[in-house]
Each structure stands twice: as C-alpha cells, then as structure tokens.
Symmetry: C2
C-alpha cells in the first residue's frame, strides 16, 4: 500500500447507507455525524416507508452532505414491458434524488442472462437515452458504474471502465458520467489509462472504496474494509485524484459479517481503516 | 444459443477427471469409455498414490486419449524460496505429463495478493522462462489459461485472453500457447478478436466448456452443465473453430452439487448437455 492518507481528515469521507444497512437512516445520520462523517450516499431502500422531506430535514440539521442516491439502472430485459418499467423506475429515482437533495444517481446498468451482453448494452443505451432529458431537467447527474465481470450475468453488461467510458462519451453530456468502485475495477490492466481518460473527458463523477478479501466467501456480500484485502487503494486513489477529482471517497461495503456486527463499532473501524488504508 | 452440435458425435468430447472428482481415475476411465467418451484430461490429484504406468496402460487399454495434464502454474510469491519450489513443481508436472502420455499441461499461472498484479505477471514470465527448456526437451506443450478476474486475488494475474495472448506471443515458442475456458472469458468484450488473434498466432491449444449459473452460489465450486447458465457456448465454439482449431471440447465442471450426485448419471447428463448446448 503506497501513499495512504497521512492524517485523520474526514472531510472527504462518505459512507453509503447500505454499508450500515441495519441502521435506520435517521440513526445512521446521527451516528455518522457523531463520529465526524460529513457525507453519505443514500440507498433507496433506506427511504422506503419514510417521509422523505423529514429525512432530508434531519440530514440538513446534522449538516451531512448527500453525495448520491443509489441506485438506478437495471435497464435490460427480454420483456419490453419490463424495460418500460425500468425506465419509469429510473425516472422515479431521479425524482427521489431531487427530493432527498442528492445531485447524482449511481446506475447499476443491468444485464439479462437470456440475451447477449451486446443486446443488453444496446438496451442500456436506450434506457439512458430515455431518462437523460429528465435528468437534465431535474439537474441530477447519472453515474454509470462498471461492475466486476463476475456480475455480467444479471447485474451489469458494463464490466470494465473502458466500457463505461465508451458509453459516457457516446452521450457526451455533462449529466452522464462514471462511478469508479475499486472493488469492480482493481484487476483491470487498463485501469490507469482508463481513469485518465475518464477524468480527461470530465466523466469521473464518483469514487467508491472497500477491499477484496482473500479468500472471498460470497459473490455479493463479503466485501472487506479498506486494508483487509488485496486492492492497492492508495494507488487507485492517486490515479483518480491526478485527474483533478476532488469528490468524496465513498465507503460501500456489502458484508453479511459486518452487517451482523455492532454498527457503531463498525463505523469506528471504517474511519480507522479509511485513515490507514486509503 | 446458436448453432448447437446437431447430432450425437462424441469424437471431440473430453472430460476432466476433476469434473467427476469422486471417481478414482481407474473407474473414470471405464465409465467414460462405456459411455463413448474417447478423451480425458487428467488432474494431478487423480494420480496421487497411484502407479502412473499402470494408469497409463489402463487408459490405453480403453483406447482413451489423454488431452492434457492439469495443472501447473502458480508461479508468483513474495517468497523467493516458494517461487523456486513452484518452478520445481512445474518441472515435475512436465515429467508427470510425459509419464501419463499427456502432450500438454494447463497452467493456472498464479497470483500473490501481497504484491501487485504486474509483479505477479513478471514472476509468471520468469517461471515460464525457467520451465520452457524442460518442456521443449520433453515435448510437452504449456497452455496458459486466462482466469476470470474474480480469481485475480490469488489464482491468476492473467485475467483476459488478451493478457494470455500477450504472454504467449512474448515467448513465440511452439511449446507455449493458450487454453480458453468459456467460464473465464465469456464476459469479455474483446473475446472474438482475441480468439482470432490466438488462432492466427498458432497459440490456441485447448478449449474448455461448462456454464455460468445464474445465480452463482460459490465463487469456485458452482459451475453449471452446458445449457444451464448464460454463456453462449456455441457462439464461442464457433469463433474457436473458425481459427482452424480442431482439438477437443473439454468439459471442466467444478461443482459441489454434481460431485455429490451419482457420477454415472452425471456423465450421461454431460453427454446430453454436450450434444444439446455445445
């Protein structure tokens, strides 16, 4: 690990509500704030059944910045009805982002195992075309997140940063860019070049961190805390920041193990790992 | 699925002993033969504690062709002693291949989570350089198998067919080529081009098949039978054969589920799935 953050500075630390999933969002806001965390990314499930205006007020009251709403996407399907439903749902997500004060939505673009990845990508493109005017109108950015190739079956047909860059550049819109998560891209031999390219086109919208555990026990829910795995996070962070990116370092950890642990202790551990290994 | 094999023709079907791991190799030979399977790839663990000459005789007696020995590789380590041990072990594998009558070794090249993938790749290169003269002398081919990026942590720093092609072309030897397994490469947007390139350079040494289940329950041991998942095997087989490849279709399925099932029924199911979905 090279060049870790040399001091405790939480001004760019953001935590995803999905990282501390057992906490209701109201508690998450308070506990993040108590520990000096100044930013959060809100997952849509954390808002379900809530009065979004009240949650927004609480977040403002605690002086927490909302970085993104997670997540939109999931455009492809063999069913035209479901593709239409996905577009409607993404438009609703844009509304939700506006309501909670999030300037951006992260897109897990989707994949349909019953068709080719090329077909899924063309449906992703069509979905983005359909929602882009709404995003522009509501001033909500759309961040395409390339997902690790192990999720190419049913989560995303966009599996490399190159593919995400290609898609973002195709649209050439200030409202469409890319979210880079170290978990998905760390293995990619083209990573440094594609990060440069992403930044040079003004498309580097978000940066997510966690670690890849060795061994990984579950394909979805065994992400590690920074420093717990094999990803050279400081190196990737360096590449990201050399592009001029000055946004947040968003901690997004899906982990059955950590979800079952004491969440206040976990937040303390996140902050410690963030300072040491990011 | 396009262009599946239109008739029951087992002349190019090969089964890996690891696919039917519960069967001792002597039984595997007999049962494969009884069901019309004319080729096998032998995993080294299947030979452990056996008289290799006797196993070889049995294989010949049943008129089964040995396609490959699995597996060599695992070159990288932070320990110089372990790197030397890996080279010794690969030389031993070359001897074992010669002893069992296998013309080729499949290499899972290895990765070391405590160092960069670039460093691991340079150690893979050094390992190949060290064993190549022995392989030439014994006339055993070395097939570099690119592994899915989800194995970049501790199994292989060579995660795309492009990387495997680069490595094989670097050596420019008739004894070093590539093994393509649909499970590892199906997601790759450059796959068709890289298969062409692999064939054009005479480096397409082996072709492995199975399927990617949706969902996948285990990162290592939940591979599917052909047709059970989302890989368009006939399309990839078509690309492989358009290069002139006329080798075997090797069924390599690691599956706790199938290992726990009746192995004779499983072999019948493999043959059925092979005819329908390959």
């Amino acid at each position: 690990m090279k060049n870790p953050l040399s001091q405790s500075n939480l001004s760019r630390l953001c935590i995803h509500t999905a990282t501390t999933k057992p906490l209701p969002i109201e508690e998450a806001v308070k506990i993040y704030s108590e520990h000096g965390v100044r930013a959060m990314t809100v997952w849509r499930d954390a808002l379900q059944g809530k009065n979004v205006n009240e949650v927004k007020k609480l977040i403002e009251q605690y002086n927490i910045k909302v970085v993104s709403l997670c997540r939109g996407g999931f455009f492809p399907s063999v069913s035209v009805v479901k593709r239409k439903q996905a577009i409607d749902d993404n438009i609703q997500a844009i509304d939700e982002a506006a309501s909670i004060g999030a300037p951006m939505i992260v897109l897990v673009c989707g994949a349909e195992p019953r068709q080719s990845l090329e077909t899924s990508r063309s449906q992703i493109k069509a979905g983005l075309e359909a929602i882009l005017p709404v995003a522009e109108q509501k001033k909500i950015k759309l961040a395409i997140e390339p997902l690790h190739p192990m999720y190419a079956d049913d989560r995303s047909a966009i599996n490399t940063l190159k593919q995400a860059n290609d898609m973002a550049e195709y649209f050439d819109s200030p409202w469409i860019g890319v979210a880079i998560d170290v978990y998905h891209v760390w293995w990619d031999p083209d990573l440094e070049d594609e990060i440069k390219r992403c930044g040079a086109h003004g498309n580097l919208f978000a940066f997510h961190i966690c670690d890849w555990k060795v061994p990984t026990g579950h394909i979805l829910f065994d992400r590690g805390l920074m420093g717990e795995g094999c990803i050279d996070i400081p190196q990737i962070r360096g590449w990201v920041e050399q592009t001029g990116f000055d946004g947040f370092h968003e901690v997004e950890i899906f982990s059955e193990k950590y979800w079952q642990s004491d969440q206040v202790e976990f937040i303390k551990n996140i902050i410690e790992a963030y300072n040491k290994f990011t």
